[in-house]
Amino acid sequence: MQVEARDLHFARGDRQIFRGLSCHFPRGKISVVAAASGGGKTTLLRMIACLLLPDRGSLVADGSLDLTQLSRDEVGRYRRRVGMLFQFGALLDTFSLYDNVALPLREHSELDEEQIRVEVRRVFDAVGLEDVDPLLPGELSGGMVKRAGLARALIEKPELLLCDEPFSGLDPPTVRRVEELLVSVNQRFGATLVVTSHHPQSTLRIADHLVMIDDGAAVEGPPRELMRRDPGAAEFFLDAVPGAALGSAAR
């Protein structure tokens, strides 16, 4: 699935978050959305998930499906093609990990419990979780919560996977592990990934496409190209690639 944002405007109270933001997320690629804190990364992700409507503008999936005009039933059908990894997992805290991941299949599929068990095993294996079935989300570390959230997002084989700050609050080895997971999800399942992040190193390692939001508008392109031509992107990558800022300043 590919998604395109067209001329989005959005304000919270007096604060204008998007002022005509336009960008696109190409099919089958990993796109990273970067912005300063409070710059609208999560807001954009929630709009793509139909959890939030823009004040003006449109979001179009696959060239023709206007996400801002969908009925309730159509939103339900669209979301079945989309998985979302929330920043803090958003797992149901009274359900075991197994039940959390099995829930979408129990709700929407005709599979019997044995088939559901096989599917849950498949995604647990894919995200590297073992022997966690009876655990409650509160009994897991931050990294395991992210992986469990990812397992739940993957259980219905989504065409589009939205990941909200998947690297935040994790130690460096776990960050690398989650990066590898996202890349493998992209490669194994062929899903389009939209990832919000303020980790420049991770962005450079995983992104095919970078969307930089600055002052309510977006610039986009391949990360290294964007780093060369856009001062905001150069500044974002300052820590990861010190020469980036220098190159930008020289231009």
Binding site: A49, M84, F86, Q87
Partner: protein, 260 residues
Amino acid sequence: MSPAAPVRAIGASVLRAVRGLGRFSLFVTAVLDAGARPPFRLRRLLGEVYDAGVLSLLIVCVSGFAVGMVLGLQGHNTLSRFGAEESLGAVVGLSLIRELGPVLTSLLVAGRAGSAIAAEIAAMNVTEQLDGLRMMSVEPLDFVVAPKALGMILAMPLLSTLFVVFGILGGWMVGVAVLGGDSGSYLSTLEDSVAFWEDVVGGIIKGVVFGVLVGFIATFRGFTARATTAGVSAAATSTVVIASVATLIFDYFITALWGY
């Protein structure tokens, strides 16, 4: 300050209240609609009946017993001045079945289970669990809210009935076992004075109505709470306050309409 300012403030408050009632009505309609359509979540409903009902049993039974003991003591002291101690069963029974049973049960359950429901749903909102459900195409009104509201509606009349039974037992304990009244008189005046339709069915109807009030107020306050920790506590507190006041107001109207 402009002379019109107080009027404007009153007008704004009234408009806010009307808007709130409108939102509440839409919410109730949506929950009933979600609950009436398949899939019917019987297991989740039973779980909620357990949470609201079984987990409230101790507090309701103990409170009912204590209230019955007080009624037995006060009733015996008052009736004995007129030589009418044998009517104690009628006094205790009617007080409990008509008023105290349903009303006090509702107040107790609003404080214990109602606040817990509101806080749980509000916390699910803060931690994005409701959005997580939406992203799985699982409607929170259907999956979370409807079972909780319907569970409360089922549990409340049952708890109210238990409150009455333990209250009558408490009254008997004090009036007969402690103060030496006649057990046969206690039970026979109770039996003679209580009418099935007017008293028992009326009391059960109150229990159902109070269950509706507490169930929907608690779920509404939780569902519409601000997504902050302060929002969670505000949802729990306001549930207890609003549900308690609504119980007392509706009690008057049901009593008047039922023709006691």
